[in-house]
């Protein structure tokens, strides 16, 4: 205990000294403030940098420079983690996946922002205008408590990508109707109304071999009905399995119920197993790469853009590439709708889903001067005007006045699915043990996805591991 306190004391002293040192330098040239930022390299952050360079005029009159490190997604966690834990104190601002909050807050790297929100009525109003699901997922640690750490940078949800030319073809429509006695979803509204059964039918219906006909044309390659992430890397099956588990009434270990909540009996409850089995049932209609355990969000997106599948469920963040004829063979055939859900006995569809997207967070060594400018920047970024421009450029906004504006849905074809998805979003764990929970779970899911074990064994193994890990961490009594 004494050793612990000593190390903590030393660290505090060190960060204090560093603050003084860096602070001194910043004050010496008060006109120019540099904010260094670590972000993943993809359209939503590129747009942000572009807007900043073109439009941002700080109210303080200082010259604010935004120094952005664009890091490729697959390396992003490793690089940020290495930068933070090595103590180099390079970044003031970090676009962080929401799940990392616990690990980096407990490590003393992420700065709590309650004081900034309380001190600034304008910022407070902005934060309050945010959709609560987004605010809880991106900002709070412990999950869903009023302890705020992040501002939404790019909020994201899963939506269904569809190919109009295939789905709306009259012959296919008739054949589908004859086979399943229901309409093949073709318009955005019809996709919105789709449940997992219809999605499964689409998968079964569109399994075509090379030489078969698809929408009147002879195929020169195999074609598949559906694709949905089921990969071993990062969270590329957790995001899909969680949605099924929640919709079937099962659960994941719930940190808001710590320390009395358990993993055993929840994670592997009969309802959870039912949900997992439902997900596994769909895999046989997906492109063969799913059997290798490497069909992640990028692979399924590529299959869709190459015109190999009729429907794909994926994050909005990747959708921009499918619109561009240079990167997409289906650019002019797109239709988007809500991700499917589970239809209950009452006919209502449950669409509870794993939320995506990222907040940006401030680091603890950011100086008061930098914080002032950072808050100014955040307020500018979350202002309705910029948020509208961001959405028009392919981003999303979680601010109610922005996304409920009728013109919002006109920006991009998937924007129509945005507002209706928000109420259904939930997040996974924010606890510091997040990465251990995730890797073990991904390993186990992979065994089920590649057909090496059944859903029950998988969830039993996960529950046992989580119970043991979280007990040792004091999060389960």
């Amino acid at each position: 205990m004494t050793a612990m306190t000593k190390v903590k004391g030393l660290a505090t002293a060190a960060s204090f000294a560093a603050t003084l040192l860096v602070g001194g330098v910043t004050y010496a040239s008060a006109e120019e403030v540099t904010l260094t930022m670590a972000v993943p390299d993809w359209p939503p952050t590129r747009i942000m940098k572009k807007f900043f360079d073109e439009q941002y005029k700080p109210k303080s009159g200082n010259t604010v420079k935004l120094d952005v490190d664009f890091i490729p997604w697959p390396d992003f966690y490793t690089r940020v983690n290495a930068s933070l834990t090595s103590g180099e104190k390079k970044y003031n601002f970090i676009v962080s996946d929401s799940q990392w909050l616990g690990a980096f807050v407990e490590g003393g790297y992420f700065r709590k922002i309650n004081d900034l929100i309380d001190a600034d009525p304008e910022l407070k109003a902005t934060m309050e205008s945010m959709h609560p699901a987004v605010l809880n997922a991106y900002s709070t640690y412990p999950n869903s408590t009023p302890n705020y750490y992040g501002f939404p940078q790019f909020p994201d949800v899963l939506v269904t990508y569809g190919r109009k030319d295939v789905l709306c073809n009259a012959d296919e429509q008739a054949a589908f109707k004859a086979k399943y006695n229901e309409k093949l979803p073709c318009t955005g509204e019809e996709i919105d109304a789709m449940d997992w059964n219809t999605f499964e039918h689409v998968g079964e219906f569109f399994q075509r071999k090379k030489g078969d006909k698809l929408a009147g044309q002879v195929l020169d390659d195999d074609f598949y009905g559906i694709a949905y992430q089921a990969g071993k890397g990062y969270d590329f099956s957790t995001s899909s399995v969680h949605s099924f588990v929640w919709q079937h009434g099962g659960g994941i270990w719930d940190e808001t119920k710590a320390p009395t909540g358990h993993a055993e009996g929840v994670v592997n409850s009969p309802k959870s197993i039912e949900g997992m089995e439902h997900f596994l049932k769909l895999l046989k209609y997906m492109p063969p790469v799913v059997k290798t355990g490497t069909m992640d969000i990028f692979v399924s997106d590529q299959l869709f853009r190459e015109g190999k599948v009729a429907m794909n469920i994926d994050w909005i963040g990747l959708a921009e590439a499918s619109l561009d004829p240079k990167t997409s063979k289906v650019a002019d055939k797109l239709v988007f709708g809500l991700a499917p859900g589970l239809r209950g006995p009452d006919g209502k569809v449950n669409r509870t889903s794993q939320i995506g997207g990222q907040p940006f967070v401030l680091t603890t060594w950011t100086t008061p001067e930098q914080i002032k400018e950072a808050v100014g920047f955040v307020k500018w970024w979350l202002s309705p005007d910029i948020q509208n421009q961001f959405a028009a450029g392919g981003g999303q906004s979680a601010i109610k006045s922005v996304y409920s504006d009728p013109k919002y849905v006109t920006y991009r074809p998937w924007d129509r699915a945005w507002a209706n998805s928000l109420d259904w979003q939930k997040d996974m764990w924010h606890v510091p043990q997040f990465f251990e929970l995730l890797t073990q779970q991904q390993d186990q899911y992979d065994l089920a996805i590649t057909g090496k074990q059944d859903a029950k064994t998988t969830l039993d193994n996960i529950a046992k591991f989580q119970e043991d890990l979280l007990k040792n961490a004091g999060l389960i009594q």
Binding site: V7, A14, F16, L84, P288, T292, T294, F435, D443
Partner: protein
């Protein structure tokens, strides 16, 4: 002049002269201790650094005045080696006896706890042993594939034939490509929808062929990619041996009408044995650390997790720094044992011959 300098008297501890390294060490220890106790860590870090520089300077002046020029010339290399290799090595050895996570500001001494955990704990040991067995499997398969292919290529390129020079460059290309580029290339190559491998087999057999869907296929895929990249390296070493065999030995053998099989064992093999051993040693050590291709091709799926990738996940992704240090020491120990075993066998053969 030289005589005078080389008999430079060792100064007393308290004498303040530039070459009094004993005094420098004493001052460094005292100043460092005081600064660490009294100053914030961010400041004392630089103070300790400055005292280390002081000691180094005293040693340098001492060596210069005593004309130890050999030592002076080697010193920078030793210094770099110490800072970049030996110090981190010892530091991580120390860490492996503590419970420490890089993202948490706590540290606690646990003795051999990390080692017992990775070797005997119900959950952790299972992963460690599984990864070690997979690694052993990859070492055997990739190294033998590379040795055989590399050796055969070398035999081929030892002969003269048209376009040899250009073909040689072509064969060497895989070795020069970055592993990531090759990995991405093979991902597409093996992909059941876009890949040529599945395309060819599908059109012959008529069934959907998915190479990476089971352990045998996944291992074969990784071994093939690794062999593709590193066989040229073995070839290069063996080729160097082959071209060094004097021509007249073969001519003499031809006159004696010795079979080409015996020619190989009696003449060629003794010349290339050392280089083959070297290739084997290099490739074994490298194969033991195999992680990049596994990450790119399977992410450890289909039971292809190697000890190196396991280590990356523990130490870098999950931030279990000290447990990672323990695993890396386990690996280091195994590599050292393996290397010495090879060297012992190689030497015994040489002496026996």
């Amino acid at each position: 002049m030289t005589a005078v300098s080389s008999t430079l008297l060792t100064p007393r501890l308290t004498t303040v002269v530039a070459h009094n390294w004993k005094l420098a060490i004493a001052v460094a220890v005292v100043v460092s201790a005081i600064s660490m106790a009294g100053l914030p860590a961010a400041v004392s870090f630089w103070v300790v650094g400055a005292t280390a520089a002081l000691v180094a300077a005293a040693f340098t002046v001492n060596a210069y005045r005593r004309h130890y020029f050999g030592a002076l010339l080697v010193a920078p290399a030793i210094a770099v080696l110490f800072v970049m290799n030996i110090f981190p090595l010892l530091w991580s050895l120390g860490l492996s006896f503590f419970a420490y996570q890089a993202n948490q500001q706590t540290i606690r001494f646990v003795g051999l706890g990390n080692y017992t955990r990775i070797l005997t704990n119900d959950l952790a040991a299972h992963a460690t042993w599984g990864a070690l067995i997979n690694t052993a499997m990859f070492v055997v398969f990739t190294v033998s594939a590379q040795m055989i292919v590399g050796f055969l290529l070398a035999i081929l390129f030892a002969k003269q034939f048209p376009l040899r020079k250009y073909l040689l460059i072509l064969v060497l290309t895989p070795m020069m490509l970055s592993v990531v580029a090759s990995g991405v290339f093979f991902t597409y190559y093996y992909d059941p929808t876009f890949g040529i491998l599945s395309y060819v087999i599908n059109s012959i057999s008529g069934n959907q062929f998915i190479l990476m869907s089971n352990k045998v296929g996944a291992v074969a895929g990784i071994v093939f990619a690794d062999a593709w990249m590193w066989s040229p390296f073995v070839m290069l070493l063996v080729l160097a041996g082959l071209v060094s065999v004097p021509k007249y030995l073969y001519e003499a053998a031809a006159i004696d009408r010795i079979s080409s099989w015996r020619q190989f064992w009696m003449i060629t093999f003794p010349y290339i044995r050392g280089l083959l051993m070297l290739a084997l040693l290099f490739r074994t050590i490298e194969a033991f650390k195999l992680a990049d291709l596994v990450i790119l091709l399977t992410k450890g799926g289909n039971d292809t997790l190697t000890i190196s990738y396991h280590l990356i996940r523990i130490a870098n992704e999950q931030n279990k720094t000290s447990e990672g240090a323990a695993i890396s020491y386990l690996m280091l120990f195994m590599v050292i044992v393996l290397t010495n075993l090879y060297l012992y066998l190689a030497n015994r053969r040489t002496q026996g011959a």
